[in-house]
Amino acid sequence: MTPTITDQTRITMAHGAGGRAMRSLIESVFIEAFGSTELARMEDQARLDMARLAAQGDRLAFTTDSYVIDPLEFPGGNVGTLAVNGTLNDLAVGGARPLYLSCAFIIEEGLEVALLRRVVHAMRDAAQEAGVSIVTGDTKVVPHGKGDKLFINTSGIGVIPKGIEVAASRCQPGDRIIVSGTLGDHGAAILQARGDLALDAELRSDCRSLHGLIELMLDQCPEIRAMRDATRGGVAAILHEFAEASGCAVRLFEDQLPVKPEVRGVCEILGLDALHFANEGKLVAVVPAAQADGLVARMQQHPAGLDACIIGEILDGPGGRVQVRTLMGGERLLDLPVGEMLPRIC
């Protein structure tokens, strides 16, 4: 008899052992939520129609990312929301239309099925909202103490329409740098959700998919030179990638950086910089100067771009340098953090 899975069930090694328990978990949690015909077929691979892909563009985009986060649930989303939107965004910032996702779960023995369901439902909702299908998946269970509750890997396939060419190496002196909204919301929300700070602030992760916004941006300005979503390492890391790939320098205007007051508060208290905080629903784009204002105005009409603004410019050189014009009018370098961001004593 197939063991029943309820919300109170805790995952055991049996749920990864390939037998009835595993089948029951897959059917009652994963297929129940994702329900795509490809997944329900339960073959070892998804089979995708090439004609459908070819009709939408001339190149495939393919990306993968793993999601490990503590805590698994936080204001504004959970690890599942991140796992879908993060991979979708990695496709979309290359100009691709996301179509299919895979997902692989590594579950630590003892995880409550209720929590797993919440994560899986968040993934379903995010995928539905974005119009993509989760077409193949995998489940592994590791013994208690050998993993941190739940790790998710997702890979994604999308199609890049003909003529779209977005790459960091294409930044040119004089171009403007646009950010799609406020900086550091996700990083600050996670810091607070970990509970070490005992701060009382309304912080929410900005986790969301960006491909709707990006479609509109490319429609208005197909000449967008470069685009990245500013996740781990924050906007600072993306700007370093742009500067290094293009052999140009980058200048930010400190007085133009959009940061919510509550996120600034966290930064001020801990001596950290929102430019280094992770975002999960913000992109940085480099565009020709003449198009920048028009594009920002258009972005502000989309829910994912309400706070879009110009934050800097591309300079001739020296290649790889990222600098900031400070509020006071001085200039300083914006370096990458060495490793973990450590709060200051005083």
């Binding site: 001020e268 370096d335 005083c346």
Partner: protein
């Protein structure tokens, strides 16, 4: 943002800079240049680099980045003590984040944690006490680091632990005190400083009086300063006004936080828990008399130095390390032969490269080559 943006107003900064420029053009200061101003506190050093203030000042003002960063003056052998305690069976070692990356003679706390030591980063000593309450079968050690700024919170935590009778909580005390070190610098003939930007948060606790001798006996203007860009510019202006008129006084720019007598409750807590050590070692500066505190005998049961048998050992800095000269203002960070090559924030040789308040790390992070 309230209480922040007011102190970062570019128009007001411009007015202060204009006044500073006109003071520097006065005959008294013009002939005396360069005017060497030491900002004592690492928080000031960080702000100066973070806002690019040096480049905005007129020629003839030289900022010397002083010893007021507790992480920067933490000797290697003290990190070794931390590692030895953290390696003891059953110990949970807790520390402020800044100390995690300071190199000991072989490892940092961060590296020891990766190798399996149970080391927790905390935001307050009370967090460490809470860990001790929650883990009665473990010995929980808090590494108390910092000047008078952090001393009161450690003192109050120990008083709390004593009241509750928490028997598994210990303090490794590395609290230090800035005034004797300022005196040692003033007595060092290699150090030439015309005026001081004085520490803000330390003074919030100790008040203004402990600095009087610097103005009275050494004739140096001393301005207690806040940490925002306008605070620092105004403090520089106040120092120059004094120098221009031939005065030397202790003045308080940071009036919104610091009072003349400091914080009596904090002073009382510190006095009840701590006593001065005869001498204490500062990285780069050597041993300085009465510059550190330890727990009083009444708190001996909490004293990690007594409870854990620590070997006394000497761990010298690498031969080419010039942290001491940078701390004394004899070398600018970039003039150190190791700067940016053998010594970087990813692989710090000297402590000044570790904390973002260290002169070398701030310089590397914000100003590696002059940004034009």
């Amino acid at each position: 943002m309230k209480y922040v943006d007011e102190f970062r107003d570019p128009a007001l900064a411009r007015q202060l800079l204009d006044r500073i420029a006109s003071l520097m053009n006065s005959p008294a200061l013009h002939t005396r240049a360069p005017i060497r101003i030491m900002e004592v506190c690492g928080g000031h050093t960080h702000s100066i680099f973070r806002y690019g203030l040096e480049a905005l000042l007129p020629e003839g003002i030289e900022l010397i980045h002083g010893p007021g960063c507790p992480v920067c003056v933490l000797p290697r052998e003290r990190v070794d003590d931390c590692l030895a305690i953290a390696a003891e069976p059953g110990v949970i070692f807790t520390t402020f984040g800044d100390a995690m990356r300071v190199p000991g003679s072989e490892q940092s706390l961060q590296q020891a944690r990766a190798a399996g030591a149970d080391i927790h980063m905390v935001y307050s000593p009370l967090d460490a006490l809470q860990i001790a309450r929650e883990n009665p079968d473990r010995r929980v050690v808090f590494f108390g680091l910092g000047f008078e700024t952090t001393m009161p919170s450690t003192a109050l935590t120990l008083q709390q632990a004593a009241r509750e009778g928490v028997g598994n909580f210990f303090l490794l005390c590395h609290h230090i005190t800035i005034v004797p070190t300022l005196q040692a610098l003033l007595d060092d003939e290699d150090v030439r400083v015309d005026a001081f930007i004085g520490p803000g948060h330390v003074s919030m606790v100790i008040g203004l009086e402990p600095y009087d001798f610097i103005a009275r006996e050494y004739g140096k203007p001393f301005i207690i300063s806040g940490f925002e860009p306008l605070d620092i510019l105004q403090s520089i202006q106040m120092l120059l006004e004094q120098l221009n008129s031939g005065q030397a006084e202790v003045e308080n720019q940071y009036t919104r936080v610091v009072s003349r007598s400091g914080n009596p409750q904090a002073q009382q807590a510190v006095a009840e828990v701590f006593e001065l050590r005869e001498r204490f070692a500062w990285r780069g500066l050597g041993e300085i008399e009465h510059s550190g505190v330890r727990l009083k005998p009444a708190y001996a049961a909490f004293d990690a130095e007594r409870v854990f048998a620590l070997e006394s050992r000497q761990a010298d800095d690498p031969v080419d390390c010039h942290c001491g000269e940078v701390l004394k203002g004899q070398l600018q960070p970039q003039q150190c032969p190791l700067f940016g090559t053998y010594c970087t924030p990813s692989n710090p040789m000297g402590a000044l490269m570790v904390s973002s308040e260290g002169a070398c790390a701030a310089c590397y992070q914000y100003k590696r080559t002059d940004v034009s």
